[in-house]
């Protein structure tokens, strides 16, 4: 019952629409699709709100504080109150800003995470859309968000915003390379770009055990791609105020802020699918529904990302570039090489 909660809901909706009768199949299918996408959007927003609260709690406990505890039970409604405050604020547009681009950036910034989540298989038979080239699609869409960060930073017409925007581009271009190269090892072993196939291939052995180095490279590069500490040079408060978001207030800022958490969810979900077996239950604990397993794994990774932020200091720009180009890229190339040789040896042995 619980296992098929979402699949069952979709089937019920489909049969309901089919029961109406006069609707053509295309329109009924597109209504189902719209419902799925709206569900994904609501899911991302609710999770982003929760993650803001979770981050504040994690930070508080790591620093021996209590954290938000006034609004609602255990301060659970703190982010809701924050968003309410941000929505009610005036939208301030700097006089010399490029108005259209300035306003477009926070609107578009939410598009890549939404488009990515539409194809993620979050449980058995549970991808809103099952694409044959899933991995490729994920990388293509995820790379779009650089452009929107840059649009916001450039359109603000502010030195600090522009510096932050330049850093975004430099950082994302340098770290996209190890991110993609580390996934190559996974694709070589699985032999498919389809996310469902990649998960199916990990039924017995999670790929983190066969590709441990790739996982580390992917995770580090992913943290850098989402501009999280220790790679949060893009919005380094002590250097460039708040990077691309400096001139944004109210809901514009909130959109960037929520998009950051949505992006963390995206990369952690990707790491779960690629390396942690997706929705497969470990130790045969299949009585827990597959989508619950998926979210447990994703949240463990998110928890680790949050702990990074309160453990490590921010690294310098040249250290960031040096680390990306001199350590991660050669390491991921070596990983591909070793994986290729290893696959041939395994085949020769006859595994």
């Amino acid at each position: 019952m619980l296992e098929n909660l979402f699949v069952g809901t979709t089937d019920w909706l489909r049969s309901l629409l089919g029961g109406i009768g006069f609707l053509p199949t295309e329109i009924a299918e597109s209504i189902v699709l719209v419902v799925k996408l709206v569900a994904v959007l609501v899911f991302i927003l609710v999770n982003a709100l929760w993650l803001v609260y979770m981050e504040r709690k994690v930070a508080a406990f790591m620093q021996a504080r209590i954290g938000p505890n006034r609004v609602g039970p255990w301060g659970l409604l703190q982010t809701t109150a924050d968003i309410g405050k941000l929505i009610s604020k005036e939208i301030i547009i700097p006089k010399k800003a490029d108005k259209v681009v300035f306003l477009l950036a926070p609107v578009l910034i939410f598009m890549p995470p939404l488009m990515v989540f539409a194809v993620l298989p979050i449980g058995k038979n549970m991808a809103a859309l099952d694409l044959n080239i899933g991995v490729f699609y994920l990388l293509a869409i995820a790379s779009l968000s650089t452009l929107f960060f840059f649009m916001g930073g450039w359109a603000s017409n502010n030195k600090y915003s522009l510096l932050g925007a330049m850093r975004t581009v430099a950082q994302m271009v340098s770290y996209e390379l190890p991110l993609v190269l580390s996934l190559l090892g996974v694709i070589m072993i699985v032999g498919s770009l389809n996310l469902s196939d990649i998960i199916a291939a990990q039924e017995h052995t999670w790929l983190i055990f066969t590709q441990p180095i790739a996982f580390l490279i992917f995770f580090i590069a992913a943290v850098a791609e989402t501009n999280r500490c220790p790679f949060d040079l893009v919005e380094g408060e002590s250097e460039i105020i708040n990077g691309p978001y400096t001139e944004y207030g109210g809901m514009g800022f909130a959109m960037f802020f929520l998009a950051e958490y949505a992006n963390i969810m995206v990369v952690c979900a990707m790491a779960t699918i690629m390396f942690l077996g997706g929705w497969h239950a470990p130790f045969g604990l299949t009585f827990i529904p597959s989508w619950v397993w998926f979210f447990i794994k994703m949240y463990v990774l998110i928890f680790i990302v949050m702990q990074f932020r309160w453990t490590y200091p921010r690294i310098r720009v040249d250290q960031l570039m040096g680390f990306g180009w001199k350590v991660l890229v050669p390491l991921s190339l070596a990983n591909i090489f070793v994986t290729g040789i290893g696959m041939y040896i395994y085949r020769a042995i006859g595994w």
Binding site: I133, S143, F150, V169, V173, E176, G322
Partner: protein, 176 residues
């Protein structure tokens, strides 16, 4: 070829977007706006590929060109040093040369469009659902030499970048 009403609407919508955005790339006076419209053109092109069931090419289009657009903007801002960004993509006075070049391009386009046997090129059998496998096999059999040469070139460029980055470190350490 699909001729349902949705496919037709999608084609004309995408075609109008591509042409409109491409025109704006030329006519925008601010170089950054031009490049942003270029991004719209590229994404709409990807949509056109999708409507032809070429999902792999569509993803490549977005992946390659979205990154390229960002780099282009950065270069545009770094290379062009004008205080007023609204004067960064201006027209020049080379009307004759421009007209000649445009006429030549249009003429060649027309010639090649006329020479192509469109009817024969539209395959009678359906488009395969999975294009990636077919592309992969073609790349590693019929087009293996160009593919490997390009791969080698990119790898050399990558290794070269790493070597350059390391070299700098050695020199700064030597100064110390």
């Amino acid at each position: 070829m699909e001729t349902s009403i949705y496919a037709v609407v999608a084609f004309y919508g995408l075609a109008a977007t591509i042409l409109g955005a491409a025109t704006m790339v030329v006519f925008m006076r601010n170089i950054v706006h031009s490049v942003l419209f270029l991004a719209v053109t590229f994404v709409a092109m990807a949509g056109l590929f999708l409507s032809l069931d070429a999902d792999f090419i569509a993803a490549v289009q977005v992946l390659v060109y979205a990154g390229a657009v960002c780099i282009m903007i950065v270069l545009g801002i770094m290379v062009i040093q004008r205080t007023n960004m609204n004067e960064t993509n201006l027209f020049n006075k080379q009307i004759l040369a421009g007209a000649g070049l445009t006429a030549l391009t249009v003429a060649f386009g027309a010639i090649f469009a006329g020479r192509t046997a469109w009817v024969e090129m539209v395959a009678a059998d359906a488009v395969p659902a999975n294009t990636v496998e077919a592309i992969g096999e073609l790349l590693l059999s019929k087009y293996v030499i160009p593919f490997e040469v390009a791969a080698l070139l990119l790898l050399v460029a990558l290794v070269g970048a790493i070597v350059l980055a390391r070299d700098e470190e050695v020199e700064t350490n030597a100064d110390n």
